[in-house]
Assembly symmetry: C2
Amino acid sequence: LKSLLNCMNTITILGAGRSATAMINYLQKCCEKYHWNLVVCDADPELAKAKAGQSSRTSGIGLDATNEEQRGAVIRGSDIVVSMLPPWLHLLVVKDCLRYHKHLINASYVSPEIMSLDAEAKAAGILFLCEMGLDPGIDHMSAMKIFHEIWEKGGKVLSFRSHTGGLIAPESDDNPWHYKFSWNPRNVVLAAKSGGRYLQDGTVKYIPYQRIFEQTMPVEVHGEGLFESYANRDSISYIDKYGLNDIQTIFRGTLRKPGFCKAWNALIKIGLTDEVLPISESVQKTYGQLITSLLPDAQGTLAAKVAKLLGESPDSDVISRLEWLGLFSDHLVSPQASTPADALEQLLLEKWSLKADDKDMIVMHHEIDYLLEGKQKGLTSSLVCKGSDSVDTAMSKLVGLPMAIFIKDFMLNGCTLTGLHIPVSPEIYIPVLKELEEAGIIFQDQHF
Amino acid sequence: LKSLLNCMNTITILGAGRSATAMINYLQKCCEKYHWNLVVCDADPELAKAKAGQSSRTSGIGLDATNEEQRGAVIRGSDIVVSMLPPWLHLLVVKDCLRYHKHLINASYVSPEIMSLDAEAKAAGILFLCEMGLDPGIDHMSAMKIFHEIWEKGGKVLSFRSHTGGLIAPESDDNPWHYKFSWNPRNVVLAAKSGGRYLQDGTVKYIPYQRIFEQTMPVEVHGEGLFESYANRDSISYIDKYGLNDIQTIFRGTLRKPGFCKAWNALIKIGLTDEVLPISESVQKTYGQLITSLLPDAQGTLAAKVAKLLGESPDSDVISRLEWLGLFSDHLVSPQASTPADALEQLLLEKWSLKADDKDMIVMHHEIDYLLEGKQKGLTSSLVCKGSDSVDTAMSKLVGLPMAIFIKDFMLNGCTLTGLHIPVSPEIYIPVLKELEEAGIIFQDQHF
């Protein structure tokens, strides 16, 4: 095995955007130390070169990931491929990795298409490790470490609720939504579109999109105060993946500061997250006119009409948040906005972008109930991590480091797993969580 | 021209489902009279043969429309092709028609992809006539006839509202929803998913899906009583197509009996029209359990919980309609249902299917305001048409006859139009409306 591993020396990263920075920096140092090569590819060759920097072990190249020939050439020359591309491009990369027998790592949710390639990957003796970022990623690893400890003591997990939010640190929080973008704004605008599914006290619960920001759960994180959590996709699919066969409650949620979800739900009700309605008319319009077009007929000011639609008072917190965004103003909607979701995204980019010195903040909070020696016990495990500024963000660190650390460990020590995996095995999570801890990324536990 | 026309002798119909019956019967008689040939194709060869019947001029053949070779062979041998296939297959047929220079007729909305082939069709000297059924179809033709009459007198159209419903005749109406399926049930379940857009008193209005069944308009049809109308797709795109440049109001709507829309909106709010939530669990469940899974936690009976979610009284009309459907019952959800929309469709198929002797009913109602010699005038024009039974439906007649009559006229007299069209020109609508009138399909006008 060691001799095989010695042959592995080229790591390729596809996509050099904001969330790749911490990973590139980490792997660059590894490459210098161990004499490996790092190839950083991006649609923008200048960005790829800038991110690659001056290291003799790292090269930055322009790559059109939709171009089969270019993509194939880069992947053929790699040993491990990291895809930081948008999810719809993953499948192309995965198929190339199958063809050329290369290992693949990414931080995205496993799609059914990629899931179906498990057996082929196994037969080829290669590893596809997905969901290896923050959430999904660190949440899987830190929770599985707790489950394994409970199981080793002979305990049984009864309930698992896990919440993660990419938020803004209190010292940089200067807006009434208490939120700024630390990752893809489009994904925030379209969040939760496919609804949510979870298990509560033995009953399967579905939440359709139009109610997902209404049915939130309060979450208190020690030292950080109160948050609210809305259902994050399909939690039930993790019962098998985690091996929690007899569990009664499983809920994965996304954290926001209190009041965010009610106000976001107002945007949904008005229709501003709609990505199909055509709004590009020949005449350019203001946000006030866009909202007027979306509202049923009513009397009064625009704020009063919106309040009526929502069943809110015109001086409510929800209305003042909408007003702060500029939704009732004469601010012009860009002619490029072809749906309400486009127009909303553009407005939010002006209002919710990190300033140069702003610090983002990641909060992850697990709540676990388990049975041990006939007694029911509780445990919370929380992680809070702040960024340094708008470039060196907590988001970039916590999404990128798990992949980077795993890759280093894989290159040095190998991995017995082949086929499609998410990081639930001790073989994967032990070295990664250990090194994250050494870097100060530490969970605080409370037992009761 | 006449000699060219004499060469045209083969009409091909792709798709022999329920709504093709009246068209096949009509064209079969034409083919016998004029010595043309009719080819009826369907994925089900038995259905194609049965619909083709015993006429020596008509043949029925099995065809997999997704098979390029089979499809190409049939289209190459035709002069005019009618596509009654599902909309996603139209583009394949249209491209073959371009390749082999064949005319194409269908009853579906023009997609942007088909729209983009207008110039190529014109260059090839062929006609693509779309939206040539009931709605879209007869609505375009009957409205354009009125507009042309107003314009000829020097008048100006101020407002146009047009409503159409495929409903159940009062004598066959035996359910509290006052509705049964006379066309594709899937389309009814997913109706209005892309929201609505219209113009009202000079203001563009958008309605997102989650409010489209709330913002309905009452419509009184002389002799038929009261209906309600919800926005049908994008009405604004018809301003240019109809040539109504200075119009202040344009609204195309779908008619239902009063109370339907409020109760349908309840299904949307519960999440039953959702087509992404995965509901196929390992354990089979009842409709009552499905609804419980979709509801937020609350006290009381299932009906009481639903009433609470909707802000309705448990003895309201809405709740009794939901109860009549069996949504609170122990009736089992089919294991094939993988989303709430699937489960709803299966339940509605049991409840809303036409019985053998049931008569369906089409109601179309135009409301037009116009300016003539300085005075504002009003006009309503209404069509009511009932089917004979569950096979010989008004829907099949009114969708199929416009295409059939046009094809006969085209074969006998030609058409000066080439490229992509919808039926707004007198050259198309005059002969079709005339023959529909002779068949008893007559609009009643009221002036005021």
